[in-house]
């Protein structure tokens, strides 16, 4: 029998916090990358092009560069949007590591990670937006920032 006893198990809170810690580390690591390499030269995964093409195909509204640059949290979290994203995830769930990990995403490519310019998304959404932003050179201004 397992020695794990749910009644006496502690650290639960720590485990919950753990994913937040990872999300912040991920954001910091990504930011540091952008400060040293222009986003347009960055390749985040082996499937950047594939993610971008599928993103544009399934979410044609984001062909509008302005909407990739700046979006609202609400537009990702409507019932309809959630359904479309879920279908998008199924294409990459086998290919992208941690595709469903909670990840911080800037709502505005012209801003840093900040209290009001960051929202919580799934890793694959982060890739879709950031790859598109990088392709359009929207993150290149970050090079040399602190």
């Amino acid at each position: 029998m397992s020695t794990f006893n749910a009644e006496t198990a502690d650290n639960l809170e720590d485990i919950e916090k753990q994913f937040a810690v990872v999300a912040v580390e991920q954001a910091e690591t990504y930011w540091k990358l952008l400060t040293s390499v222009p986003g347009s030269k960055l390749r985040l995964t082996k499937f950047d092009d594939e993610i971008y093409e599928n993103f544009m195909e399934r979410f044609p509204e984001y062909k509008d560069v302005e909407r990739v640059k700046k979006f609202t949290e609400e537009e990702l979290k409507t019932k309809e949007a959630k359904e479309r994203w879920r279908k998008f995830f199924t294409i990459f769930e086998k290919k992208i590591e941690d595709y469903n990990f909670g990840t911080l995403l800037r709502t505005d490519a012209s801003a840093e990670y900040g209290q009001f310019t960051t929202c919580f998304v799934v890793r694959l959404q982060f890739y879709a937006f950031e790859i598109a932003r990088n392709k359009h050179g929207l993150n290149d201004w970050i090079v040399g920032q602190k």
């Binding site: 916090k17 580390e25 690591t29 990504y30 040293s36 985040l44 082996k46 992208i96 590591e97």
Partner: protein
């Protein structure tokens, strides 16, 4: 904090603690989770220990610690632990240690040094072997540059994360 008897509980007055917390809360300190013990050592080796403290950090690098401070007599604990270890035969007693001559010790040290040299050499041998596969050369360079690891380690990390740059860097910077 001058005369706190050993093993005594030092409890901060609730009212004061509450006030202090309120004041400190206004300073915009960041709580640091995951700290299980804070110790203070005084000149005379007396140790104040706070188990499961709440630790806050200011932007300037100052720390504020809340918790119940207890006097922790480390030397006494150590002595007790040593005695126990000796009794159970885990640790060599003084006589055992004394039987080692200086020559023996030197030989031991040399053997240990050679061992580490060998280990280092082995690592070097591996250097040429790791195949970059279909990894992007620029990605490898980036990982090396961001984390100060060897090219081999960068390649391994990138492979382990299937070319995912951010994940690879994160795994190396822990």
């Amino acid at each position: 904090m001058s005369a706190i008897p050993e093993n005594a509980n030092v409890t901060v007055l609730n009212k004061n603690e509450k006030k202090a917390r309120e004041l400190i809360g206004k300073l915009g300190l960041k709580q640091i989770p995951g700290i299980i013990r804070v110790t203070f050592r005084k000149k005379d080796n007396q140790i104040y220990a706070i188990e499961k403290p709440e630790v806050f950090r200011s932007a300037g690098g100052n720390y504020v610690v809340f918790g119940e401070a207890k006097v922790d007599n480390f030397t006494q604990k150590l002595a007790a632990a040593q005695q126990q270890a000796q009794a159970s035969g885990i640790m060599p007693s003084n006589e055992d240690v004394a039987t080692k001559s200086p020559e023996d010790i030197q030989a031991d040290m040399q053997a240990a040094a050679e061992g580490s040299v060998n280990a280092a050499a082995e690592e070097d041998d591996e250097e040429g072997e790791v195949d970059a596969g279909d990894l992007n050369k620029d990605d490898i360079e980036l990982v090396v540059q961001q984390t100060n690891v060897s090219k081999n380690q960068a390649i391994k990390a990138l492979k382990a994360h299937n070319g995912d740059l951010v994940n690879a860097i994160m795994s190396l910077s822990k």
